[in-house]
Amino acid sequence: MADDPAREPDHESAETEGPAPIADEVAAVVVERFPGSVFAESHGQPVVYVDRSVVVEVARMLRDDEQFTMLVDTVVVDHLLDGTRLRVDGVEPERFEVVMNFLSHARNRRLRIVCQVPESDPTIASLVPVYPGANFPERESYDLFGITFEGHPDMTRILMPDDWHGFPLRKDDAAARVPVTFKGDPSPR
């Protein structure tokens, strides 16, 4: 698409042997430094799948060594019902994905870090000590998906009422689970 500055034509020749070289220099550093990380290109954007146990070290390295000045966004995706999910070789898919978008102003580039979080233990380390801007989005992720960010200073609900039960953006939390109440009806909860 012409509107996409990050997109580059694919120059990789078919006869390259072994694993293809990683097109993105920062992603290459992350993959080299943290074994087990997997690089994938998604529509021209560099994405690195890392293990959730090293996410804080990755963030610290990006901030201190690679001039990634901003954690733009933290998103959680629930893949419970996602039958034709995008498979990436070398990544063991779990139900939840925590996606972090980093931006380097000095180098004018972006990098996306994705961590797999299993349903049985929905926790991941908080990035608030590294990027204080992760405060609100991590609270939002906790609120809507029930992912606990360990080390977060204020892990409380942010959008839903404090006494809400369930995590609305999970795929097994259907819309209209709480019936519409009319005047005089007993409370749904």
Binding site: M1, A2, D3, D4, P5, A6, S42, H43, Q45, V47, T69, M70, L71, V72, D73, V75, V77, D78, H79, D82, G83, T84, R85, L86, V99, N101, H105, N108, R110, R112, Y131, P132, G133, A134, N135, F136, P137, E140, L144, R157, I158, L159, M160, P161, P168, L169, A175
Partner: protein
Amino acid sequence: MSDMTHASEREETRLERQTDEGAQQLRPITREMVIAGGGMWPQDDLGDTMIINMGPQHPSTHGVLRLMMELDGEDVLRIKPVIGYLHTGMEKTGEELTYVQGTTNVTRMDYASNFANELVYSLAVERLLDVDVPERARWIRMMMCELSRMASHLLFQATNGMDIGAVSMMLYGWREREEVLRIFEFITGLRMNCNYIRPGGVAADLPDGWQQRILDACDTVCAGVAEYDELLSQNPIWLERTVGIGVITTEECLERSITGPILRSTGFPWDLRKAQPYLPYDEVDFDVIYTSNGDVYDRYRIRLYEILESAKIVRQCVEKMPDGDFRVQDKKLTPPPRARIDESMEALIHHFKLFTEGFKVPAGETYVAIESPRGEIGCYMVSDGSGKPVRMHIRGPSFYNLQSIDPMGSDSLVADAVAIVSSIDPIMGEVDR
């Protein structure tokens, strides 16, 4: 007086009142006790603070924002924003809607600059589809986004003026914004939540006579901006209320993911329109406005002069608007013209399928970011190959910018808290989604 004597006195009084005899004398309150606080109130040590709520229903909170402020007298020690009063589950709704219906949903998030939301959603869908939109559609999109930036900043001028005390600004800002909204009504049929930018292009071509109307509106707005500049920029009362208030530094902005005019007011000229151009922004001439103090006054000035820059872009769009299609001529993606439905069975089928099932988008995930009037608005979209997104997340800039309240508001006065919230320019529909 020690506590012991107090206690025994109280006990005596209590016993006395149990008996029913004689006149009762109340404890004498002397002037010394009142002035020095000696004994009238519990010992008021230094460091005793009070937590009060501002909002959620407060005229200067731009919707329903609640601020918990810890006060020591008039001084604000800490501010914590409490949000969620406008949460309507729009991201959940986005998962239930087809890609055709999706823009109707996202346009209601940042209702003051809805084109940015529609654009970022459409760009994300188009990137997953790998579709190039025609040149004319891109220019129309850019023009509408800049008009929307003008409308949004005019809204800011109006509400910011009223919050700080220049109540007449409310009328002036609204007056000029009205001109822009008339343009929206003229082109899209709706004044707000236009749902005009859609995956594959825009909803309709520009109507006859659009050039002159847009140029006239630009002239009106620019004249209005000159008026505000004259009214406020050198006004001693205005300067007193804004200069040096709510200061934030570049480092604080960057680490807290704060973008847009707040970041630019700290001396950091970052604008995605220049840094990572998306529409034909690299083909028009405009400047990124930035200042270096990071206070309320600078944020006011940046938004004021950005209106003029947007007007500059809009004038260039009028001049350079290319001919051609206003949307992709792919019958699986965009609906056929209304007239074709009456004469072609295929057109009728395409129309029906498009509006009942929508189109399918290949599996994938992407993040698209553009510069909205409030900062970086992003759309993270995950598709599984069906007609509805698995996840549609909008990174609303206001949501992140609200994190700047604490560094800005700490050590300010209660009266300045209103100016600070106003200068962040949060749109709660986007914060709560």
